[in-house]
């Protein structure tokens, strides 16, 4: 399926050993002093790659630089081993882009719009029409594809946006918040679609999202950025293989519980109503049960958590000392408001 002969005219011949996407000290400063990307260096290989970070972390900026929609302030970026600054049109012929914002004219039908954009990607007219029909069916739009898009639901619009990104059979898909505005069922369907497109059809995909729980369902590699810096780039497995966490939620008295558990030699911290306990073996379960009984606390639930991706945005998820406890105990909100300060220590790990 991925052979040289059948993929003639591709940017394929890029040398083996060169990453699909390679960023070197990529920096973007917007006028007014906002730094969106700050010396980002990472190699991204084929596969479904999750690009995670909170709002404003620089995800959209990175995708736009890869497309040549905006220029980097400094540093280098290559896609298919081609420089984004000089080979933009060559790259974009093989890249599909789903933007975060609305991009569909309400008075056009999905069929007309997608086939027009297929022409803009260089497909001949007949091929554009055929591919449009196929790709709209692939994303699950049937009779409604002949209607004006102004009457579409958000879910249908997101599907059209995915269709236009796929219509020219790209080698690389850049999806910016593809589940934006979708209800839970719509999210599941969109993620399933992305997963199929990436795995069955072998299209390298980058999914930018701030919803970490979603990303981990479809991706096999993760790139986490925060404040324009790289937090971590690693296979999804290595994020979740780490030691688990036991979350114990009590009605009140979580601080007392944490203190008691710590006194018994466990690594425990209070996090709102919950107490997070490092789980290295079976031992904590009994201790937790006994401690709760001793303290007479009202137990809400005990839950074994995998290391959630949220932990990326914390300073050391399970602290070994008391210094970090202060940071985490500010509650669940800390997860989403993690800033450059929290990012710095992890970021020094660099690309892997």
């Amino acid at each position: 399926m991925w052979t040289l002969s059948s993929r003639a005219g591709l940017p394929l011949g890029y040398p083996s050993g060169v990453a699909l996407i390679s960023l070197r000290s990529l920096t973007k400063q917007y006028p007014g002093g906002v730094t969106a990307l700050d010396g980002l260096t990472v190699d991204i290989e084929r596969g479904i790659v999750g690009l995670v970070g909170s709002n404003g972390a620089g995800k959209s900026t990175l995708l736009k630089i890869l497309l040549g929609l905006i220029d980097a302030t400094s540093g280098e970026a290559t896609v298919f081993d081609m420089d984004v600054r000089t080979r933009g049109t060559d790259i974009r012929q093989f890249v599909g882009y789903l933007p975060e914002h609305d991009c569909l004219p309400p008075d056009a039908s999905a069929t007309d719009f997608v086939s027009h954009l297929a022409l803009m990607s260089g497909l001949p007219r007949t091929a554009a029409r055929e591919r449009t029909a196929e790709v709209l069916r692939h994303v699950g739009l049937y009779e409604e594809r002949y209607r004006a898009m102004g009457g579409y639901s958000t879910g249908m619009k997101q599907r059209v946006k995915l269709a236009q990104a796929l219509v020219h059979d790209p080698r690389l898909l850049l999806l910016d918040e593809p589940t934006n505005g979708l209800d839970p069922a719509g999210r599941d369907e969109m993620l399933e679609l992305i997963h199929r497109t990436g795995t069955e059809f072998g299209i390298a995909t980058i999914v930018a999202s701030h919803l970490l729980g979603e990303i981990e369902r479809v991706c096999d590699f993760l790139v986490a950025i925060e404040g324009g810096r790289l937090l971590r780039a690693a296979p999804l497995g290595s994020f979740t293989e780490q030691t688990g966490t036991l979350a114990v939620e009590v009605e009140e008295g979580s601080a007392a519980l944490a203190a008691r558990l710590t006194a018994q030699g466990l690594e425990a911290i209070a996090d709102g109503r919950a107490v997070l306990i490092a789980l290295t073996d079976e031992r904590p379960y009994d201790i937790v049960r006994d401690t709760i009984v001793d303290l007479g606390l009202a137990l809400v639930r005990i839950e074994q958590r995998r290391h959630k991706l949220e932990d990326l945005f914390r300073d050391m998820p399970i602290p070994t000392g008391t210094a970090a406890a202060g940071v985490v105990s500010t509650g669940a909100g800390a997860a989403s408001t993690g800033t450059g300060a929290a990012a710095a220590p992890v970021g020094e790990e660099g690309p892997q």
């Binding site: 929609l69 049109t89 008075d107 497909l123 091929a127």
Partner: protein, 305 residues
């Protein structure tokens, strides 16, 4: 309509042939530019859009061709009574007057349709989809302007063609009539290109700067009307020298100037006081075309998609 499916009786199977790759040719940038040019030309006339989008361009197009059709009709009748020759020469609707006859219609067409192209793409955020494809930003701007100018060119030259065919075919001596009219063809083409280029270029430049249709329409009408009035007032106040040169800021006056120079005619009486060298009109028209294209390209190069 699909046949109703009754439960329990499988009437067919759905084959999920899934997503297929595309192995065919990718024609790249040049093809994308050509396609966008064609799309712009069609969209300028509302083709490929809903019925309502066609009303304004088609009505204006019909109005533009109406004088030519009317005069050909009159000629046909006159021929019956043997007065065709005289009428053909004395008709107020000739090759050299046609451009100014329909200039208002062309301006209205610009004001109505130019925002349809650039404004719509900006309003609905479509630009980032274009710029994420095999096009450069300058390609996008040029293809859109080119398509619109071609639409104007059609609007200006088709009536001239009707006029030409009518005059030739109705004449008793067809070959002689064609030979007689041949010298008019180069000035018609040059004037058509200058007119479509200048009016179309300026209209597209203005609509490139706002997603709002109403603003663009108002801006285009203002640009085409106000400078002429200002120059007229100043010339009327007595400073005819400044007034004279100020007419170069009015696109329609510039085009009247090139028209008169090309057809070797006098400027019409209302402009009797304009007395500028021919080269000034041509230089201004060309500068206007090049300038508007350059400004539009610059606009889209700086656009943050």
């Amino acid at each position: 309509m699909t046949a109703p499916i009754t439960a329990g009786t499988p009437t067919g199977s759905i084959y999920d042939i899934g997503y297929r790759g595309y192995e065919g040719p990718r024609l790249g940038r040049a093809h994308a530019i050509r396609s966008l040019f064609g799309h712009s030309l069609r969209t300028a006339y509302g083709i490929g859009r809903g019925g309502r989008a066609k009303i304004a361009p088609f009505v204006l197009g019909a109005l533009a061709i109406l004088p030519a059709v009317a005069i050909v009709g009159v000629l046909t009748l006159a021929m019956r009574f043997g007065a065709g020759e005289r009428i053909a020469e004395q008709s107020p609707i000739r090759y050299d007057t046609y451009f100014s006859t329909i200039s208002t219609i062309v301006v209205l067409f610009c004001a109505a349709q130019a925002p349809e192209l650039f404004g719509r793409d900006q309003r609905h955020g479509i630009l980032s989809l274009y710029f994420a494809r095999a096009l450069r930003r300058s390609d996008y701007a040029l293809a859109r302007i080119g398509g619109f100018v071609a639409a104007l060119l059609l609007m200006e030259l088709v009536p001239q063609l009707v006029l030409f065919l009518g005059r030739s075919l109705l004449s008793p001596d067809i070959l002689g009539a064609v030979r007689n009219d041949l010298p008019s063809i180069p000035p018609i083409l040059i004037q058509g290109i200058l007119s479509a280029g200048l009016l179309g270029g300026l209209a597209m430049t203005i609509s490139a700067f706002t997603p709002r249709r109403a603003y663009a329409t108002a801006g285009i009408i203002a640009l085409f009307v106000i400078p002429g009035i200002v120059a007229g007032v100043i010339a009327g106040l007595g400073s005819s020298d400044i007034g004279n040169w100020l007419f170069l800021t009015s696109p329609s006056s510039v085009l009247d100037g090139t028209n008169a120079a090309l057809f070797g005619a006098q400027l019409s009486s209302e402009f009797f006081f304009i007395n500028l060298p021919d080269i000034a009109y041509f230089a201004t028209a060309i500068a206007g075309i090049v300038g508007s294209v350059a400004i539009t390209i610059r606009r889209f190069n700086r656009f943050t998609a």
